[in-house]
Amino acid sequence: MIAPLLTIDAILIVVAAWLAIGVAGIAALRNLGLVARVLFPLSAALSAALAGLALAAMAGTPEVAVLVIGLPGLPFHLRLDALSAFFLLLVGVASAGISIFAAGYFRPGEGTPPGLMCLEYHVFLAAMAMVLLADDAYAFMVSWEMMALSSYFLVTTNHRLPEIQRAGYLYLLVAHIGAIAILLCFGVLQANTGDYTFANMRAQNLSPFWASAAFLLALFGFGAKAGILPLHVWLPEAHPAAPSPVSALMSGVMLKTAIYGMLRVSFDLVSTTIWWWGVVALSVGLLTALFGVVFAAAQVDMKRLLAYSSIENIGLIVVALGLAIIFEAYGMRSLAALAMTALLYHCLNHALFKSLLFLGTGSVLHATHERSLGKLGGLMRFMPWVAWTALVGVIAAAGLPPSNGFASEWLLLQSFLFTGTLPNPYLKMLVPVFAAGVVLVAALAGYVMVKFFGVIFLGQPREERLAKAEDAGRLERLGLAWLTAGCILLGLFPVAMIEVIDPIPFQLVGRGLAQSGRVGDWLMLAPVSAERASYSAPLLFLIIAAIVMLTFLLVRRFYHGRIRRAAPWDCGYPFQTARMQDSAEGFGQPIRQIFEPFFRMHRELPSPSDEAPRYRVVIEDPMWGWIYVRIAQATEAVSRTVGMLQRGRISIYLLYSFVTLVALLFLTQA
């Protein structure tokens, strides 16, 4: 008898097909045409299929499957519930755009051959899907490690460059420190039963101490992957080092698997919730967000700027997580649902707009061979397709209405405004301060995005060869257009999206927004009631568009539309060169000045009499000095002490053995 095909089986077929594409890539190791024109578009189609399947599974009942692979007696338990399905949807939607872009992106050249890249890329995709499906610690950790390793190899595509080797090493190191914490977390969660299935973990009733230990380990372990402070150091090194589609995949999608892990542990696997977990998450999240956005404003490399902006967004997502935990701990289910909806919505938004922006930088990189903001500029005229799609991403990343970024930030701020009803008076005081911080971060994100877009695409080209830059190719445009359309749809129809998300808060906190009939109709988003708060993206967009059209027509009707092209006015100053514009350093200068304690800055300023004046600012991450260098020094000190044992003389070692033996004898005696 053949059982009917479940959605989870169909998803596993997609995963298997990805792996098959990877193997096919190995077969066509150096055949770029086959890899780029056949395999990657095929993979994009699979991604779209995955998105469709996941969307169908969102509303369905949880499905389970057991895969008999790996060690004997340790099969992979898999489970597809609403939470997994949502993140699978995210993977599918984002990777569909990224893969089709990648099909047009890879060029013959140095580094890893395209077939090998294809294998790594698809193992990475498959591993992310498996992480989301895993229902026992064994399957989870195996997939998690596969994800880390495949992305390590992708990061080190140009492995001949020393800084990329270094970035890859750092990434691998932090990934494994995180993995250890996750492993320990699962160890705590199974509570000495020896059964590592998630079903067993859910059944355990941990004491508050062990539950807190599990939560903190999860926050640390998944935080290392998500890039929360102070474990973020690998992120601005590794994400920019990878080829742009891979950067997009890592920043847009992989970081979300860590968020998935945090949600899975703190709302599903641990049965209790304690309010101070939320405060920890809020504090860490806000610090991460603030740090990320301030550093993003100071960057001069476009991909590093985006990587820091990802840190900021992850920070905001963790803030929403903290808020959801606090509400859940006090039994305020509807508010927890609100915060969680904001969290999930922002995850999806960030996946789309950050992928879009990273892909945009990829096209710029190909057209100009330049990553440094100081040597770009004016590309809107030469690469209009990339520029206009990037503009949509920029508006979303800056959180401006009517974009999708604004919709999720709006929900987050709304959930902050309800904290006045919290029973704990200290929390009631504390949380508005966090709200102020979140608002500051959101406003700074606008600064960062103006810098990003303005310096790359607007103004005069800072180098002459930029005028020869060519717009993105056909497949690249398709990928950009897919993600842009996603951003626009998510922005204009937030209520529809919230209805899709709804089963998850219902599953995790027992209440959903739409399920309690409180999101409003398709036009008007009103999470609580229309008197309380409402926002309508489609109306806002329509009115703005209508006024723009009407003004345009009226001006032409009553006056005229004549235009004359001339040299720029610039207060009548006749000599204008591209070097008179703000450099990337210059645009970030106010931020560097205001947030000076955040930075470790080295500045070389020329004196008036310098023959060859040189101005240089180097900004370093202060976390290196504050934490990592100290850990390294402590490790060295400890190893020096231990090293004193090694004398290189056999008699001394015999003495050690003898002393150990005697000590052990004493112990067994006692």
């Binding site: 004016g378 209405p401 309508s536 001006v555 006056y559 092209r565 204008q576 703000d582």
Partner: protein, 315 residues
């Protein structure tokens, strides 16, 4: 949308379009009087707009479509913003489309577009203006939002109409939280509307200007739209301030008698407000640009303090 609501919305739009340049003209008149100068006529702004619309627009050769679209978008954002702030009546059909947070978002959208347009030509002043505008913006925006949050917590709503209704219906007492929020709001609106002590609307001294540097490359109809948008922004901010701190006189829903009184009440309040603005501009000196972050950080902290005071005292 019923007919009455539609008419109220239309009236709000027309009042905004007409009153905004009048308000700017009035402030300029008051300032001239206070400074012992002969004042320009009240309708001067309209003449300027009319003149600018007739002129031929001169656009830099390397300008992208971004440069030409931006004035329309900025104008549209500001007009929409002044349409959703309750000026005459709280019965506005468009008001539910954007609450207090979305209002701040609209201002931010306009700011980002005008800054991008200023960077488009690639002149030294354009980028300088954009950088300074964003600097003012990222500090003023959270401060404004804190003020709005305080009012939202008092009225348990972020909808502007509900806020105004709640605030207008309480008995007249000075709430400490609202007082702090009022100070913060005043500071923010000075900064946001490019007024002394943050910027000088009358200056053309390059190194000190913010708003003027932003719009330096614009001419004719584009400049007219940008200037009209700036006037609308001043109007929207003034009305937001009046709605939050002096909401009496705004007609509530279904109160037609009050609607007749609302317009004179609004004009009187705006006239007083405009005079106070001119007074502030006359008696204070412009700050160095480096001191602006301090000024705005103070406003931000006052806003946060207002929020905390409300939660602490419940008032």
């Amino acid at each position: 949308m019923n007919l009455e609501g539609f008419l109220a919305q239309l009236a709000a739009m027309i009042v905004a379009l007409v009153a905004a340049p009048l308000l700017v003209g009035w402030v300029n008149m008051c300032r001239a009087w206070l400074q012992n100068r002969t004042a320009p006529p009240l309708l001067q702004q309209f003449r300027v707009l009319h003149k600018l619309f007739w002129k031929e627009s001169v656009v830099a050769r390397n300008a992208t479509p971004m440069f030409r679209i931006a004035p329309y978008i900025v104008f549209s954002c500001m007009l929409l913003a002044s349409m959703i702030v309750p000026t005459l009546s709280t019965n506005l059909p468009l008001a539910p489309a954007a609450d207090a947070i979305a209002l701040v978002g609209l201002f931010a959208l306009a700011r980002v577009f005008i800054s991008l347009a200023a960077m488009d030509i690639g002149t030294a002043f354009g980028t300088l203006g954009a950088r300074r505008e964003m600097l003012v913006g990222f500090l003023a925006e959270p401060a404004f939002l804190m003020v709005l949050f305080t009012a939202s917590l008092i009225s348990n709503s972020t909808s502007l109409a509900t806020i105004v209704t709640t605030l207008a219906h309480r008995e007249f007492t000075i709430l400490p939280s609202l007082a702090l929020a009022g100070v913060a709001f005043t500071m923010v609106s000075l900064a946001e509307n490019a007024r002394v002590p943050v910027d000088n609307p009358a200056t053309h001294l390059e190194l000190t200007m913010i708003h003027e540097a932003l719009v330096l490359e614009y001419s004719a109809r584009h400049l007219a739209l940008v200037e009209w948008a700036a006037a609308l922004k001043l109007f929207a901010y003034s009305c937001a301030g009046l709605a939050l701190f002096f909401p009496w006189g705004v007609a509530q829903a279904n109160d037609r008698g009050a609607l007749l009184l609302a317009l004179p009440a609004l004009l009187v309040k705006l006239a007083v407000g405009g005079f106070l603005l001119a007074l502030i501009e006359t008696v204070t000196a412009k700050m160095r640009i480096f001191r602006v972050p301090e000024f705005l950080a103070t406003a931000f902290l006052l806003g946060v303090l207002a929020l905390l005071v409300h939660l602490l005292l419940g008032a």
